[in-house]
């Protein structure tokens, strides 16, 4: 079987990262922003797995990191959704533009 070169995988992960970043900057809906963050996290995961596989095939450090990130991402999603729900209760909106009281 012909192997996929590392650069292809990195290309995918970079694309994924910037798609996530673009979403994070442009969307005002907080759930969408959360999804964008997940995209970015997963692009990092792909990077870790790919580097692990291509550069140090005998080791598992990158894979462990990936599992950590997935765990943390799950916790982060739970926290973020809790914040969003609370925000919705108090502001009746999940638009990031509507919650700008925390300023000077």
């Amino acid at each position: 079987m012909h192997e996929i070169p590392l650069t292809h995988i990195l290309f995918v992960s970079t694309a994924l990262f910037f798609i996530g970043m673009y979403g994070l900057f442009t969307r005002r809906n907080m759930v969408t922003m959360l999804m964008s963050i997940e995209l970015m996290l997963n692009s990092v995961n792909i990077n870790f797995v790919a580097f692990n596989k291509y550069l140090y095939p005998g080791r598992l450090d990158g894979v462990f990191f990936t599992i950590f990130i997935i765990t943390i991402a799950a916790a982060e999603a739970a926290t973020a959704i809790a914040i969003i729900i609370n925000l919705y209760r108090s502001h009746h909106s999940i638009d990031a533009e509507d919650a700008t009281e925390m300023k000077f």
């Binding site: 994070l24 990031a96 925390m102």
Partner: protein
């Protein structure tokens, strides 16, 4: 019984009186305040007399440090100690301070009756007595400085006792500031002395100074401190104004005890001063000038207490003069006798003021029938201060004059003239108060508490001169015999008699003669009446020169440069923060942008900068 077992009680009992009356006097012992303070002080005075009896019953009077306690230990070689030093002059002062203070306490019971803040008054008297006793018992120069300041404080409190009178407040402030100014010199002098000798203890200091070259500047500075407290020219301006305080206070503080602290200080360090002829010369001349200047000013004053204040200054001038002329015993002797007759004069003035409700001589006159006891006491005190034998002032003044004769002819002349003037102004006071007009009746002399002190102090003024003083108080603790030569006494006594006769001819009856003589002297009279314009000179120097040339530029610098720097920093911060506070917009996505911008910047730095 050793000294150390009870000696601390002597100063601590008045302190107890201060604490007790100061804390609870207003509510609990309003009526008994005077009695409590007097009894405590009576015990203290009895202990002091007992100490004196024991101390002087030995043949050679060695200085003893009976209590020693390290108060502050800075380093192994530098510590501040608190101690009690007994030597002839401290024991003598112990007796003077407690006895005069007891008399004043007793007198005040009658004098201050009905006053609103009588317990506060007695509390302050207790504080003063404590500080003064601490001062005289000090065993090192730093301790004396501490009590020196405490004495200044209690003097301030007592001068300003009638704080609802603006003049009393001003006088208290003046006394405080002038003496504080002098104390600055004292403090610098102490620091210089202790820097060179590496000790604060009197005994060690004197020992170490003996082998060193003299420290003229340090000694002059210490003398300035003493001159300020003792109201010596030109730092005397506070003393006449200090008469705003209650009269018994003037008797205690501004006649018998506090104002002689300067003399006591010089006497305490006498071996050090005596080694430096320049400083001794300065002391003698300052004393002589103060004596004659104050005597001349006293002749023109019309306020009875001010006359007495100037006479105090003049007599302290005598003591300083004697110290400067190395007449240690003579000076201390005069201090001793002066304490009796001057406090007696002030207490008599208190009785008179109490009866006529005025300080002005012109409101008095013809009082001899109305107050016979006061009349006699005043006469005794006047004869004593004028130096008429056999009253106490005669003996001490003769000693001073004979010392001065051996020192400098000019100073002797000044002292002689001053003693004539002294007799004149004291009898001017006496005749104007008790004779001058037809007799009139006044309502009494006050109760027994006001009369007893007069009797006791009169006995002191009468008899103190017969104390064989040179057997007790000498620079080295060894007695020597002194005798007064009748021949030398003729001139001063006849001068004093001439002064009395002059006063008699002018003031025995009311006449126009004093006024016409005053007119004849014109400028001199006016100058003396205006206290030789010394107050005006001070005002010019402080208000005109110091205020305009030093204080105002400093205030300007403070307001515009120092404050300007601080305010400028604050307003610059405020302006910058107003500009950049927009960065904190409250929008999550703006913050994200900054975050990624920061990460990007870090990445660029790490890639390209390393």
């Amino acid at each position: 019984m050793s000294y150390s077992s009870y000696i601390l009680l002597i100063p601590l009992l008045p302190l107890a009186s201060f604490v007790l009356l100061g804390l609870g006097g207003r509510h609990h012992f309003k009526r008994a305040a005077g009695m409590i303070a007097t009894v405590l002080l009576g015990v203290s005075a009895a202990l002091a007399l007992y100490t004196a009896y024991r101390y002087f019953s030995t043949d050679v009077h060695q200085p003893l440090v009976v209590v020693r306690y390290t108060w502050l230990q800075f380093s192994p070689s530098l510590s501040i100690e608190m101690g009690v030093l007994l030597d002839p002059i401290s024991v003598m002062m112990l007796v003077i301070v407690t006895v005069v203070s007891l008399m004043v306490h007793l007198f005040s019971i009658g004098y201050m009756k009905g006053e609103e803040r009588v317990s506060t008054y007695f509390a302050f008297l207790g504080l003063f007595t404590f500080s003064m006793l601490g001062l005289v018992l000090s065993s090192n120069i730093f301790q004396i400085y501490i009590f020196w300041e405490l004495v200044g404080l209690s003097s301030y409190l007592l001068i300003g006792f009638y704080y609802d009178r603006p003049s009393a407040v001003a006088a208290a402030k003046k006394a405080f500031i002038v003496t504080r100014f002098a104390d600055l010199g004292f403090l610098v002098g102490i620091l210089m002395l202790s820097f060179y000798t590496q000790t604060l203890d009197f005994h060690t200091l004197i020992e170490r100074m003996a082998g060193m070259h003299t420290l003229t500047i340090a000694l002059v500075l210490i003398f300035i401190g003493g001159a300020g407290k003792s109201a010596m020219f030109p730092l005397h301006i506070w003393l006449p104004d200090a008469m705003e305080g209650p009269t018994p206070v003037s008797a205690l503080i501004h006649a018998a005890t506090m104002v002689v602290a300067g003399v006591y200080l010089v006497a305490r360090l006498f071996p050090v001063f005596a080694a430096d002829a320049v400083v001794m010369h300065l002391i003698a001349w300052v004393g002589a000038i103060s004596a004659v200047l104050a005597a001349v000013m006293a002749c023109t004053q019309t306020d009875i207490k001010r006359v007495l204040a100037y006479s105090t200054m003049s007599q302290i001038g005598y003591m300083m003069l004697a110290l400067g002329a190395s007449g240690y015993t003579a000076s201390m002797f005069h201090l001793f006798t002066h304490a009796f007759f001057k406090s007696l004069l002030f207490l008599c003035a208190g009785v008179i003021i109490h009866a006529v409700h005025s300080n002005e001589i012109k409101d008095m006159g013809g009082l001899r029938k109305g107050m016979p006891l006061t009349h006699m006491a005043f006469l005794i005190a006047c004869l004593a201060i004028a130096g008429i034998p056999p009253f106490s002032g005669f003996f001490s003044k003769e000693e001073i004059l004979s010392t001065a004769l051996g020192y400098d002819k000019l100073i002797y002349g000044i002292a002689l003239v001053t003693s004539g003037i002294t007799a004149f102004y004291m009898f001017r006071l006496y005749f104007s108060i008790f004779w001058s007009r037809e007799t009139r009746s006044v309502h009494g002399e006050g109760g027994a508490s006001m009369k007893i002190p007069l009797v006791i102090l009169s006995a002191g003024a009468l008899l103190a001169g017969f104390v064989p003083f040179s057997r007790f108080v000498t620079p080295d603790g060894r007695p020597f015999a002194s005798a007064i030569h009748a021949g030398a006494a003729i001139l001063p006594v006849s001068l004093a008699l001439a002064g009395i006769l002059l006063a008699y001819s002018l003031y025995y009856r009311q006449s126009e003669r004093p006024a016409s003589i005053a007119r004849a002297f014109g400028g001199l009279y006016r100058a003396a009446y205006r206290k030789f314009y010394i107050d005006e000179v001070y005002l010019f120097v402080t208000r005109g020169v110091l205020f305009n040339l030093v204080a105002k530029p400093i205030a300007w610098t403070d307001r515009h440069v120092v404050d300007g720097l601080v305010n400028g920093t604050a307003s610059a911060t405020a302006r910058i923060s107003a500009r950049i506070k927009g960065l904190q917009s409250g929008r999550v996505q703006n913050y994200l942008l900054y975050f990624f911008g920061g990460v990007l910047a870090l990445v660029i730095i790490f890639i390209y900068a390393t």
